[in-house]
């Protein structure tokens, strides 16, 4: 019998598996087709071109209710990426802070940090989102509380207002060059600023490399601090002065604040909740990573006469980062996926636009969900590709 012959067993089993798989797929597909026919439905993506017919108040690009469903989905995608990006940064800050302090030899501080980690890890992120959304909408004063001579609420430092409709912070405005270019002016200005920063990064790296080369050749390391600071800050400051960067401070006009940047309560809720929740996980990764570097490494380094701060940057951190970064990247992936919970507080991310309102209005359940899954799959494949690149570049090279 084919199953008992080792030459053919693997092939036979795979053939059986293939047949079963094909049967299962055929059965499911057949069911879908029958069901759709019975309900008079079909698979059709043309609804993406139709006007969406709903408004989105949190948007990064121009969008009206007459825009297409595709554009609504795109607004949602940008919102997802925005909140994921913000939350990744803040979660890293929280996590590194708590993880390092948890290893502190200060008993009280390390205990406090363990409490933070345990409390935030063991309570569903959904509840955190709702709690922070509650703080933002119930505890914060209404804009009218800021009115009058003896107002109940005061603006923070006179420039920011925390209201139950969101937080208003001063908004940067490029008053000179980009002033006449309309709505995209600030966007272009910031893109140029980021480009300058990237150039500064490469400039700084060149200076550091040159310093290392000189040190290796002559044994004396030239001072790089001042040059580096100049490379980092001078072009940026010059750019801001040329374009006339000014901050517009929000003001109470009518029933609401006008001017500046408004960060809506839903965005803040989802951003902070994801940050503190994921921060607790990152804290554990950071702690584990630092503890994974064996004590012998530090001792060997100090036996070689390396100074303490150089031990940290040359010996401990490179080894700890190898342990910390892979789980950190998977936490970033988790943040991106968990940002889909934004639908709960009415933040218009891609799950809320494409998978929520568009789905309900058009009734195109299969198409919307397939597209939604495809988007998240692409994002997570990109993130895992980055993780793999990093892992391969830092892998211990043995034998």
């Amino acid at each position: 019998m084919l199953l008992n012959d080792t030459r053919y067993r693997s092939l036979t089993l795979q053939a059986i598996a293939a047949i079963l798989l094909a049967l299962a797929i055929f059965y499911l597909a057949n069911n879908v087709v029958t069901n759709l026919q019975r309900l008079g439905l079909n698979i059709d993506f043309s609804f993406l071109g139709a006007p969406a017919g709903y408004d989105i108040n949190q948007r990064l690009i121009e969008y009206t209710s007459q825009s297409t469903n595709l554009k609504a989905a795109f607004v949602g995608i940008l919102n997802t990426l925005l909140v994921a990006f913000l939350a990744c940064i803040m979660a890293t800050i929280f996590g590194v802070f708590a993880g390092v302090l948890r290893l502190s030899n200060n008993w009280l501080v390390s205990k406090l940090m363990s409490i933070y980690v345990e409390i935030f890890r063991n309570i569903p992120v959904l509840i955190w989102i709702l709690i922070i959304y509650g703080i933002m909408t119930v505890v914060m004063p209404a804009p009218r509380a800021f009115r009058g001579e003896d107002a109940e609420a005061a603006m923070f430092l006179g420039i920011s207002a925390f209201t139950n409709r969101g937080v208003y912070i001063p908004g940067p405005e490029f008053s000179r060059i980009f002033g006449e270019m309309g709505i995209l002016s600030a966007g272009i200005g910031w893109l140029v600023a980021i480009a300058i920063l990237i150039c500064s990064f490469f400039g700084g790296r060149t200076v550091t490399r040159r310093a290392t080369r000189i040190q290796e050749a002559t044994g004396v390391r030239p001072a790089t601090l001042v040059t580096n600071l100049a490379i980092w800050f001078l072009p940026l400051i010059a750019f801001f002065i040329i374009t006339g960067l000014a901050f517009e401070i929000p003001e109470l006009k009518g029933f609401n604040f006008k001017g500046g940047i408004k960060i809506g309560a839903p965005l803040i809720a989802i951003w902070f909740a994801l940050s503190i929740y994921t921060g607790a996980f990152i804290a554990e990764n950071v702690r584990a990573g630092i503890q994974a570097v064996s004590k012998g490494q530090t001792e060997a380094a100090s036996a070689l006469g390396i100074r303490p701060n150089r031990i940290m940057s040359l010996v401990v951190l490179p080894q700890a980062l190898r342990v910390i970064i892979p789980p950190l990247i998977s936490q970033y992936l988790n943040i991106t996926k968990n940002s889909s919970l934004a639908i709960l507080v009415g933040y218009a991310d891609v799950t809320a636009t494409l998978g929520g309102i568009t789905l309900n209005q058009t009734g195109r359940a299969i198409e919307c969900i397939v597209l939604l899954m495809l988007f998240y799959l692409i994002i997570s494949l990109i993130i895992s590709a980055v993780a793999n690149l990093y892992n391969n570049s830092t892998k211990l090279k043995e034998r």
Partner: protein, 432 residues
């Protein structure tokens, strides 16, 4: 002579001086304080900051908790009792206790049924969690799913009994034939189980047997509250464990077809958020069943959450499999064990032991994720709070009491599970 020699030296100490106590700052609480809290300027600043933080947190929350009102019919009445002072209205918890635990549709006079099932859950889990208990208790664990199903959903007791008998007959057929051929035994087992299961159709629903042990039926859509979270958590973790192990073994397989099917499945599930899978369960999964079968939402959600956590468990178990030294596989081969025996006797016991912390993490995460079903309008604990309770005129506006309670409940369960897993790791540790 002796006198003179005794007097020759003015003074000789004949016993040692008792050791004097160490300086105050080198021992006892003062030393502890100095070492742990005020060790240097930076540390002292941190300590002071920590104390300030603790004080701020406690001074803001304690009056609220201590002044809490536990007995009032509505929020307005509670605010009246508080009379402007700071205090929590925990009365919402005592008034809506049953709704928080069982949902708002489960028949009131039948609360004892899920409560009993919940109590029995501990008995059923005890022998699985603690190895020192008598092994005979595992029989109860095996019976538990059927008892719990009967208690929670009701209906004639014949249905769960038939399901159980079907399983047992199928297993016995499988064991009888296993020696001759694994695949044949598997097939025969499944067929004989199916024969038993279809008996209830053959008997006909109006038969007298169905009135024996009849509990009033409760439809799935009436389940809710924390009970729903518990049911989803327990069911999905138990179901996803075997599926996850199978997927992990499949991913390690040398057969490319099986390997890639498993890889694609795992990576697909892990790449999408659970919420999209729940959308699938609520609006799309129905299309995959034969027309008119009308599988209810609870089962569809169980299917999707199980698939979701199985993919994650598969990755954890794969880590355990990869951590086993190659010698273990080779030793099993050289003993002449076939794949099934080697996997069951050599590979899995060790790989699973390595994967325990990871599996427990997944289980805790899954239990927390069961709150997501509130997004697809199932009334679990969070759904109850956001929906019927906060929307009612009596309790409109009691956020913190309700959310703190939900948070506390989840914290207790999840923290308990993670403590158990640490105990288990120590218990299973065989290294030095």
């Amino acid at each position: 002579m002796s006198d003179t020699s005794a007097n020759a030296v003015a003074f000789v100490r004949t016993e040692s001086v008792p050791a004097s106590a160490p300086p105050v700052n080198a021992a006892g609480p003062v030393k502890w304080l100095k070492d742990n809290l005020f060790d240097g300027v930076g540390n002292s600043i941190l300590t002071v900051l920590a104390f300030v933080a603790i004080f701020l947190i406690l001074s803001n929350t304690m009056p609220w908790v201590i002044n809490g009102i536990w007995d009032a019919p509505t929020l307005a009445a509670c605010r009246e009792i508080l009379d402007g002072t700071t205090g929590a209205c925990f009365a919402v918890l005592s008034e809506r206790w049953n709704q928080l635990l069982f949902g708002f549709k489960y028949p009131t006079e039948m609360y004892w049924r899920p409560a009993l099932a919940f109590a029995m859950l501990f008995v059923a889990f005890a022998p699985v969690l603690f190895f020192d208990l008598p092994r005979k208790l595992l029989i109860f664990t095996g019976l538990y799913p059927f008892i719990a199903f009967w208690l929670i959903w009701g209906g004639p007791i014949v249905n769960p009994i038939l399901a159980l008998v079907g399983l047992i007959v199928g297993y016995m057929v499988f064991v009888r034939l296993e020696k001759t051929s694994f695949a044949m035994a598997m097939g025969a087992g499944v067929v004989s189980a199916a024969v038993i299961w279809s008996l209830s159709k053959v008997i006909g629903s109006d038969s007298a047997i169905f009135s024996i042990g009849y509990l009033e039926t409760v439809p799935s859509r009436d389940l809710g509250g924390f009970m729903l979270n518990m049911m989803l958590g327990v069911t999905c973790v138990s179901l996803s464990l075997p599926l996850g192990i199978a997927l992990a073994l499949g991913r390690q397989s040398s057969m490319p077809l099986i390997k890639y099917v498993c890889v694609i499945f795992i990576e697909f599930i892990r790449g999408v958020p659970l919420i999209t899978l729940l959308f699938v369960a609520s609006v799309m999964l129905g299309y995959f069943f034969p027309p008119g079968s009308g599988v209810d939402l609870f089962i569809r959600v169980v299917i999707m959450i199980t698939l979701f956590s199985a993919a994650y468990i598969a990755e954890v178990v794969r880590g355990g499999l990869a951590a086993l030294p190659k010698g273990q596989y080779e030793a099993a081969d050289s003993l002449g064990l076939d794949y099934a025996q080697a996997t069951r006797l050599i590979i899995l016991p060790q790989a699973l032991k390595i994967s325990i912390p990871g599996i427990v993490n997944i289980a805790v995460g899954l239990f927390k994720d069961t709150t997501l079903v509130s997004v697809i309008s199932m009334f679990d604990m969070v759904g109850m709070i956001r929906g019927p309770i906060l929307a009612s005129t009596d309790w409109n506006g009691v956020y913190w009491e309700l959310f703190s309670f939900a948070a506390l409940l989840f914290f207790v369960v999840c923290y308990g599970i993670s403590q158990y897993s640490q105990w288990l790791e120590r218990r299973l540790a065989t290294d030095h």
